[in-house]
Symmetry: C2
Subunit: 344 residues, 2 copies
Amino acid sequence: MSMDHRTHTAGGDEKEILTIHDVARELGVSASTVSRAISGKGRIGEETRQRVLQFIQDSSFHPNAAARSLAQSRTFNLAIIMPEVRDLVDMPFFHTCMHGAEEVAQSNDYDLLVVTTDGTNLRPLERMVGNRKVDGMILTRTYAKDVFVEYLKQSGVPFVTVGRCYDPKVLQVDHDNSGACKELVMLLISKGMEKVAYLGGGMDQMVNIDRFDGYRQAYAAYRMETEKKWIRTDLTTKSQIAKAVDDLLKVGVDCMLCQDDYICDAVVHELADKGVSIPKDMRVASCHYSRLLDNFPVTITSLKFDIMDIGRKAAQVLIDQLAGKNPSTLTMLDYEISLKESTK
Amino acid sequence: MSMDHRTHTAGGDEKEILTIHDVARELGVSASTVSRAISGKGRIGEETRQRVLQFIQDSSFHPNAAARSLAQSRTFNLAIIMPEVRDLVDMPFFHTCMHGAEEVAQSNDYDLLVVTTDGTNLRPLERMVGNRKVDGMILTRTYAKDVFVEYLKQSGVPFVTVGRCYDPKVLQVDHDNSGACKELVMLLISKGMEKVAYLGGGMDQMVNIDRFDGYRQAYAAYRMETEKKWIRTDLTTKSQIAKAVDDLLKVGVDCMLCQDDYICDAVVHELADKGVSIPKDMRVASCHYSRLLDNFPVTITSLKFDIMDIGRKAAQVLIDQLAGKNPSTLTMLDYEISLKESTK
DNA sequence: TGAGGTTGTGCAAACGATTGCGCAGAATTG
DNA sequence: CAATTCTGCGCAATCGTTTGCACAACCTCA
């Protein structure tokens, strides 16, 4: 409404892009002052501070991210490295994890950049790191020998892994896969299932290594022995799994412990096809709950992990690290054992 | 190997961060020359150009993204706006779409930023647009009345929608949902299923509006009438769907056309529970194939869309737009009608 | 009242690229 | 061979912030 002689703010086109200098001129202060008011760093009078903040509130001013980035050598970007998800199996995990990470990133004024890789191609990472497009990275899915971990370590970019990492100096966030499996198997044994078969695969991935480790620990805790023929850690395809189920039925075990929901799904189907009733003729449990397990007539005993939370925590740990707080290297998240009909 | 007096490149620590000036000094040219060599714009001698490019190849130089961004007023970032995915239903679509977009973005030297929203909160968008963190945006899932579309339109940021948009001036990429449904329904009718029921919901979303529209068009094309009691466009929960199936069985229809895989899944289960055999007692088709449909004993007639491709195309159209080429406003993608047992 | 500290502010130099302009020297022209 | 155009390159300004430093004005205490 004010009719002062400088009318450029009165034009119908409010699209004009303001810089910190415009704000400064408008308020009769210097750009430094505006900058200090915004950042809260440096010496500035409380009154001036409020005046600047108020003006900014009312105006359409937003600091230019590129300029800020250049001056401060930080981008306010995080990247999340995702595997190529083959089919529906992994998607819920990684997507939900990403969602959690983004939530925390946003609420800390960071943006989240996605990079999908096949697990071998370092190019996209190198570009990002080289160009300095991100302040830190979240690595989902880690391997026993991991080129990404190695690359990031030597690159000097702060990063956190979702899932355990073989290098204890690396920031990592994970559910206690090993502990959870151990507890589950001990529970099964204590209920009389002394011969628990393990159906797994992809033992190059840390998460699978951990789960299998928990299985062994349970037997060790009871000073009992596992038998080689109960254990399968080479399963990938549905037909391999079906075959393994077949074999195990002949061997005669008390319970089939499935490394993940995908394997569990295949196992339940195979048992149904064979007319083997759960839990009467065979018990089944899964090391990882997902909605897949809701599709069966019988409810399945499983481990429940809060996936969204692992994404959130990963982002939080990384952001803490960037802020100079020293978050603990290993963050372990809770699990829940869900006992259902499938194990009597 | 050269033992000139400036030995700083011979140090063990190769981590040093190079700027364009370092490169220039090393080569005895000016920074402008290096810049021109990289960008290929401006006048520069072919020989010098090669020399610079060669040096950069061998060195660890990467242009600083922030500086480049500031100077050029562009970020080489795209954002993809994703809905919060409730459960497993939508996830494959949006995740796969994102994956496709990222693929194309990467191969054009763009990075992709994810933003998940509940469909109403504009804040994250405003921040990005205000800060100028992205050059363009991909909007997945559009509504009949869409606050995001309206915001982006007035903000001036280039954007493309995945799925039709009510405003024909907006860049949009979609499968021909309407045309595909029309063709499918015409096919069903021509095979003798004159009473095709429609089971849908969420009619505030463009994709659902389009599919239903195709259904109507098919009848219009044959100059036939639909009956109100065949049509349900208010279905959300499994129990609602089960109830609708019930009702439709009493009404007596020839085929149940399901708006998506989720509804189809519920329908098939309900029919199985009721002991209604497909296709003997009832025919079923889905307007959207997904792996969900592979779980049934009977194969399901459905429309197949290449989801990854829609993400790819969306990114491509947006990038073309940013590059000043004028991509056509509406990009329509192919579909495939997959006729299976469920419709005889 | 004057020495010493504190407080609020502005100046100007970064940050690392891009780009318009000018200027030599080479190439082309009549 | 002089006049003109063309080529390749460097200078310096620019993009929009941040931040170290200088400097007044004020406050405090002996």
